[in-house]
């Protein structure tokens, strides 16, 4: 069955550098630096990435950072809480726009 997302395509990520190798190289260097241990640990960064993967709903990223979080020593409980954080922000983001709805409702109502 045809689908836009194929799990094996994750391994082809590097193909995006074929016609723009310098940009791909810069991205890789920057990406590597972002995920290196710094003020945050590698594990904390992997959990943030896992949460963001859910917020942006990237199936490649979800697979990659499920494995990645485990390989940085995160537990399934920590990973599940990270996903809840993403979900809470997404849910909260929808709900807080209700203020805009209230504002407009007030404006156009008698």
């Amino acid at each position: 069955m045809d689908t836009y997302y194929h799990p094996p395509d994750l391994a082809k990520f590097g193909d995006i550098g074929k016609d723009a190798p310098e940009l791909w190289k810069k991205f890789q260097e920057w990406y590597g630096a972002v995920f290196a241990e710094g003020a945050l640990t590698e594990r904390e960064k992997a959990l943030i990435a896992l949460a963001v993967s859910h917020a942006v709903q990237c199936p490649y990223c979800i697979d990659a950072y499920t494995s990645g979080s485990l390989e940085k020593g995160a537990t399934p409980a920590q990973m599940t809480e990270a996903v809840h954080v993403a979900a809470a922000i997404r849910g909260g983001a929808a709900l807080v726009h209700g203020v805009q709805m209230r504002n407009h409702l007030d404006k156009i109502s008698m």
């Binding site: 594990r43 485990l70 390989e71 940085k72 020593g73 537990t75 399934p76």
Partner: protein
């Protein structure tokens, strides 16, 4: 309730040859030998024999999902007396300083205590690779006392400080029994600072992924085992799961085999090569046959032809010298020991 072994469930993968064929058929990006050569590392060869790792047999009170030995309660292979005596003879005649006893659950072997006592009398360092739950069985409840009296180092398996993760890999209820066993070891001074009684833990991933950084996990394990259970230990060793036996069967059955092997190949780390255990270890099978490591033993990959093939053949210095300088027999499974931070019986190698 222990899981059935591959042998008992008549799985084709119970045969080492079938495991080798399955691994050989995988379309890997490169062979292990090519990876070593590309890294401009010399072909693997032994550098010394510091450790005699003796597998006393496949009998075990547990049957864990990932077991590369396919050990379990239904296995009957146990090391004969003549082979146990030959191991002691080699220890007595050679400069090999460490006896590393494994299985199965090696403590179930009738000669286990005799082997420990005699090796200690020879002044050798002795390691017991303990599954912990064995000490909760009635006939083995005095093991911690015995091991402490003999000053044996204990390397114990505990894949996770989370009960659910440990039980998923090792069987329902194993975590609680393991905690009780660790408490008993602590009571005798194991893992307690200043006691000199070494208690190291081993964790291997509960699934198809690589272990996390050993030092970071050790901090977590120490904090959580202390906080949740008041337990102490010395070091945590991270060990990569090897694509052998029951773990190989699980990889294939769960559809993870190709991706896991690709992960190991992609994560090949030349810096991990010098510390692999085959370079300073000689592995003895329950029947006395010699191997470069416990993994080659389970895949039935004996030492190179030019080297002695059995512990019974190591009767003089010349025979031992041929073992010390042997080339190592390698295969796709060797990527397991060289991925990421490396993996050995003593944990990460980098």
């Amino acid at each position: 309730m222990a899981l059935p072994t591959l042998l008992n469930s008549r799985s084709p993968l119970a045969a080492p040859a079938a495991q080798r064929e399955l691994l050989a058929a995988l379309p890997l990006a490169r062979s292990f030998e090519e990876a070593v050569a590309t890294a401009q590392t010399p072909p693997l060869a032994a550098a010394s024999v510091d450790v005699l790792q003796v597998n006393l047999g496949k009998r075990c009170n547990q049957a864990c999902h990932h077991c590369h030995v396919d050990a379990g309660p239904d296995r009957r292979e146990v090391m004969p007396d003549a082979v146990v005596d030959a191991c002691l003879g080699v220890l007595a005649r050679s400069g090999i300083q460490t006896l590393d006893i494994t299985g199965g659950a090696p403590e179930m072997h009738p000669r286990f205590r005799d082997l420990v006592i005699k090796a200690r009398r020879l002044g050798r360092r002795v390691i017991d690779r303990c599954n912990l739950t064995i000490t909760t069985l009635p006939n083995y409840s005095d093991l911690p006392r015995f091991l402490a009296a003999q000053r044996v180092e204990v390397i114990a398996s505990l894949p996770s400080y989370a009960a659910s993760m440990t039980d998923r890999q090792r069987g329902a209820g194993v975590f609680e029994q393991s905690i009780a066993a660790l408490r008993e070891f602590n009571t005798f001074g194991y893992g307690v600072e200043g006691s000199g009684l070494v208690l190291n833990l081993v964790t291997n991933p509960v699934g198809a992924f690589l272990p996390a950084a050993q030092a970071a996990l050790e901090r977590d394990w120490k904090r959580e085992l202390q906080r949740q259970h008041g337990l102490v230990f010395n070091q945590l060793f991270t060990i990569t799961n090897m694509p052998i036996s029951r773990y190989l069967e699980w990889l294939e059955h769960s559809g993870n085999l190709a991706a896991y092997m690709d992960k190991l190949v992609q994560a090949f780390n030349p810096a991990a090569v010098p510390g692999v255990m085959c370079r300073n270890t000689l592995s003895v099978g329950w029947d006395g046959r010699l191997f470069d490591c416990d993994f080659n033993q389970m895949l039935d990959l004996p030492l190179v032809h030019a080297a002695p093939q059995s512990i019974l053949d190591l009767t003089d210095d010349a025979a031992l010298a041929r073992v010390v300088t042997r080339p190592i027999v390698t295969g796709p499974h060797c990527f397991g020991c060289t991925a990421g931070a490396g993996s050995s019986c003593g944990g990460a190698t980098v």
